[in-house]
């Protein structure tokens, strides 16, 4: 990991010095070690705070919606999962590609700070990792014990970039990403309703999921638009407020790359990504396997009609 970070800083320094880019989008060290946050570096000197380690879970691609509008070219480091979001945003004309220099970087799963806390680690003094293990404050963990939920099922690969930094150290996924979706599908409607009612009742509507989601980049979100008729539809039933998540899942259906940011940032630990994964699994079943963000040109299955498209009721029944 250290050599990857060194290579990244070298790359950033070279491009800033040559003037090819004027900014760098990466991650900045925090005070507690695990509280790494996305940051824009505008000079070689400022790169002293630049980091890339086992805590860089945050997806950088959405920041480019605003950053790429500004003057000057920006260098961005994209983990495999971030790259899919990046491509999807390019496809939707949300990022000005000509203003971005992309560098793909490999990733073997990022640590979940909550899992650290569960293991009694409140702050990080030193950390190192191999493909399958992470050592924090001298204590060694297996990756599957400590990494983010989204990383446990990750099968994403490096795509195409202006440049790639990789030492060909890839971690294999520990779980099938649709396992929980299948469990939910096996439930009766009442059980499933109870599950979601229980989960979503924890929501405090902090909007973190929406704000972090790379598919949620509307100029004005329907939930912030009094004219949309959705902003505050029904307050008669406390659960109806939670329809927010279901409406949001519909809005990103077919565009969601399954980057898992929604669940990562949820302070209430709601498994929001399951709603999106249900859509992904249905889309795969109806229209053949489709990975949003794998390319920048193809039309998504939900916004493309071909004469070969099936009638959903032929697959799921219900006619």
């Amino acid at each position: 990991m250290q050599r990857l970070k060194t290579a990244m800083i070298e790359k950033a320094t070279a491009l800033l010095t040559s003037g090819e880019v004027s900014k760098v989008l990466g991650w900045k060290k925090g005070e507690l070690g695990f509280d790494v946050e996305p940051a824009v570096f505008t000079s070689v000197d400022s790169l002293v705070d630049f980091t890339y380690d086992a805590f860089c879970g945050a997806n950088l691609s959405k920041y480019l919606v605003e950053e790429s509008k500004k003057e000057g070219k920006i260098l961005v480091f994209l983990k495999p999962c971030d790259s899919y979001s990046f491509n999807q945003l390019i496809k939707e004309h949300r990022i000005k590609k000509e203003n971005v220099y992309t560098v793909g970087i490999e990733c073997q799963g990022k640590v979940d700070p909550y899992k650290l806390k569960e293991n009694g680690i409140e702050f990080v003094t030193d950390a190192s990792e191999t493909v399958d293990t992470v050592t924090v404050n001298g204590k060694e963990f297996k990756k599957e014990e400590i990494i983010l939920g989204k990383c446990l099922t990750c099968t994403k690969k490096l795509l195409s970039y202006d440049d790639v930094i990789s030492f060909n150290e890839k971690r294999e996924p520990s779980l099938d990403r649709f396992e929980m979706v299948k469990k939910l599908e096996a439930m009766t409607a009442d059980e499933r309703y109870a599950f979601w009612k229980d989960q979503l009742s924890n929501c405090i509507r902090c909007n973190a999921c929406r704000n972090v989601c790379p598919a949620c980049t509307c100029t004005k979100c329907v939930f912030d638009n009094d004219n949309s008729g959705i902003a505050s539809k029904a307050n008669s039933d406390s659960f109806e407020e939670k329809m927010f998540h279901i409406i949001r899942a519909f809005h990103v259906a077919g565009r969601c790359t399954d980057c898992g940011e929604c669940s990562r940032v949820c302070p209430q630990h709601i498994p929001l990504h399951l709603l999106n994964r249900k859509f992904i699994s249905d889309i795969d079943r109806l229209y053949g396997e489709y990975q949003a963000g794998e390319d920048t040109e193809s039309k998504g299955p939900l916004t493309n009609y071909t004469t070969g498209d099936v009638d959903p009721s032929d697959v799921f029944g219900g006619k």
Binding site: R94, C218, T219, K220, V222, H251, T303
Partner: protein, 663 residues
């Protein structure tokens, strides 16, 4: 302040028998904004419309709600009424209290309550209506006919005769369709080729008709008056312009194992072939599956023999684009596959044939030169048994629920022709019912029974099996109340017909609706039988429902009359209910353009103020109102709610839903 008038129609007893129309009018009068509420026996009649016109003038109405039949029936009528009284035609809303209420309810109280709710919902929507004006678009004076059977040929000839250009696109290498395969035609028994081939020649010689055979529709864009169609001209490996149809290549071709499609696969043809002697165009085609040159590069005999150098092994599919004002769908039919009817042994016994195969066996140009012999041993059959309704009127799920309509007549024809030509042959026909309405039809059938001695047995066949070289047809004779077994030499199955499978794809491309049996739906079963509900799309022949030749030809001509009526107009009124983008909300994500079937959406970079005296350039959607057809696909696809439809705004729809849910 809005002044709304509500007009509740009885539709004779259609609505009034199940809905208390007086009560509906009374209750809706109390709705805020409603200043007058009336009921009348026939609102669409001249008196009914006068009542609306007078109310608009007298009360200075700003909008009207008509509680009546489906808007597809009379929305246009009432819009005209409103316009003639000086009201904008788009300030009219229809509450459908017939199809969606009175016709489906039995209980008056329930139906009345629902009619009131539907009325309220229309009032809620009307309150958000805005006056709209529609633009105009030009009409391309050329028609496309998809399918070159008798239906397509007749439609094309009539359109061309009226002076308009018309293209026939046919997927087979020749026009003529199923009719070209028939031997004789009922009820007059004239030979199919003698009456069809002159029409085919007329098509070829008519300056207004362009025939594209071995071609398929690739895509259809646009709308009534302005369709843009891509046509795939499949490679036939023979230059149509050079080939003279001399047929030398066919004789020289060493690969002679292709199934002869024209003869229903009953004999073989060479890899290079002309489908039949009177084919139009009379041009050869190479079957790449069979051609040795195309398969492994070794041969090329046909090219060597061809005097005019017409053979081109390198020919590729070509896609051409043309514009049309109207499209006629005439895709025809095919007999159903008999895989669900193993009891009749079609796949097992060579001498169990379909009626269309029998046509070829009896045809002078067929595989046996018109000499009726069994496919197995080429001997003359002495006992022939016909089985009717194979897959027709079948509610078991194996076949089709509908009557194929033509089988009773052609079976009588077959039976009669066989008895005429081979008087010593015994002919039996199993039937459920004999259905022969039509001019001179029943007389024809009776002649088969009374003069030609065909043995008609009322009953169905249970199975066909082989015993001592005979096909044993076991069935029930319902009139004599007994089981019968008829040892036969040839068994003929009157297989049901179904729409040509390509019609599904075509219907999707032209956005025409299709029923559960894949027949295209007409705009109105009785009053608009040759038009599709999609403007500019017309239906000709069996693609709309089972028909025999006389009916097909009448419908094809009717269809042509409709096309000519459309093409004779210089301008068409556009739809006023078009979509538009709220640029303040639009993110320029392209989702709407992806789903737009008309290509009406483009993107522009516009400068927007973002506060602090700054501006930014944003990519936003822009709708071409002359092209938009108001389908609304973009409004549901838009994630940020920037796309909206005039006359059907999201707000209006939500207001309707709220009005329905309100207690």
């Amino acid at each position: 302040m809005q002044k709304i008038g509500v007009f509740v129609c009885w539709c004779g007893s259609n609505i009034a028998a199940t809905v208390d129309v007086k009560k509906v009018a009374e209750v809706l009068k109390a709705e805020p904004g409603v200043v007058i509420s009336e009921n009348y026996q026939y609102m669409c009649s001249e008196n009914g419309q006068a009542l609306i016109r007078n109310a608009i003038k007298e009360h200075g109405l700003t909008g009207i709600v008509v509680c009546s039949c489906s808007p597809r029936m009379h929305e246009a009528t009432f819009r005209k009424t409103a316009e003639s009284a000086g009201l904008n035609p788009y300030m009219v809303e229809i509450a459908n209290i017939r199809e969606q209420c009175s016709w489906i309810h039995k209980d008056i109280e329930e139906a009345t309550e629902k009619a009131i709710i539907l009325g309220r919902s229309a009032i809620a929507k009307l309150k958000l209506n805005a006056p709209l004006t529609s633009g105009e678009s030009a009409v391309v004076k050329r028609a496309l006919v998809i399918g070159g059977g008798i239906a397509g040929i007749q439609s094309a000839l009539d359109i061309a005769e009226a002076g308009y250009e018309v293209d026939i696109v046919e997927s087979a290498p020749t026009i003529g369709g199923n009719m070209a395969k028939l031997d004789k035609t009922f009820p007059t028994l004239d030979c199919a080729a003698c009456i069809l081939t002159p029409k085919m020649v007329d098509c070829a010689q008519n300056e207004n008709i362009d025939i594209m055979t071995f071609s398929e529709i690739e895509s259809v864009k646009g709308f009534v008056g302005n369709f843009k169609v891509q046509i795939r001209r499949k490679a036939r490996f023979v230059d149509e312009k050079k080939c003279t149809g001399c047929g030398v290549c066919m004789q020289k071709c060493p690969s002679k194992k292709g199934k002869n499609e024209f003869n229903m696969g009953l004999n073989n043809r060479p890899a290079i072939y002309i489908p039949f002697a009177q084919a139009i165009p009379n041009v050869a085609i190479i079957d790449p599956e069979q051609c040795l040159k195309l398969k492994n590069g070794k041969c090329g005999l046909c090219a060597m023999q061809c005097q005019v150098n017409a053979i081109d092994y390198t020919q590729k599919d070509e896609i051409i684009e043309r514009e049309y004002g109207a499209i006629v769908v005439a895709t025809g039919y095919k007999p159903i596959s008999l895989e669900n009817f193993n009891e009749y042994g079609y796949d097992t016994y060579k001498d169990v044939v379909t009626s269309l195969e029998l046509e070829r066996l009896m045809n002078a140009a067929g595989p046996s030169d018109g000499h009726l012999v069994r496919p197995s041993d080429h001997k003359e059959p002495k006992v022939i048994t016909f089985i009717q309704c194979v897959g027709s009127r079948d509610t078991s799920g194996c076949g089709k629920p509908y009557c194929s309509k033509i089988c009773c007549m052609y079976t009588a024809k077959h039976a009669m022709l066989i008895r005429e030509k081979y008087p010593n042959t015994e002919v039996h026909v199993f039937y459920i019912d004999v259905r022969t309405p039509g001019k001179n039809y029943d007389e024809f059938f009776r002649r088969a029974v009374e003069q030609y001695g065909v043995d008609y047995i009322k009953g169905m066949v249970g199975k066909v099996y082989e015993e001592n070289g005979k096909l044993m047809v076991q069935g029930s004779d319902l009139i004599n109340n007994e089981q019968v077994v008829i040892p036969s030499d040839l068994v003929v199955l009157a297989a049901a017909i179904e729409p040509n499978p390509s019609v599904r794809k075509i219907a999707t491309m032209v956005t025409a609706s299709i029923d559960t049996n894949n027949f295209l739906t007409e705009a109105h079963a009785k009053l608009r039988p040759v038009e599709s509900p999609t403007a500019g799309i017309f239906l000709s022949g069996v693609c709309q429902g089972p028909k025999d030749i006389p009916e097909t030809v009448s419908q094809a001509s009717a269809c042509a009359a409709k096309v000519v009526g459309l093409l004779s107009k210089d301008k068409l009124k556009c739809n006023a209910c078009v979509s538009h983008s709220d640029e303040m909300l639009c993110t320029g994500c392209s989702v709407c353009a992806n789903v737009c079937p008309y290509g009406a959406i483009t993107y522009v970079d516009k400068e927007f103020r973002i506060g602090g005296g700054k501006t930014e350039l944003r990519r936003v959607a822009s709708v071409n109102e002359a092209v938009c057809q108001g389908c609304g696909a973009c409004t549901v696809a838009c994630p940020s709610g920037a796309m909206d439809l005039k006359g059907f705004s999201n707000k209006q729809i939500m207001a309707e839903v709220d009005a329905i849910c309100k207690r």
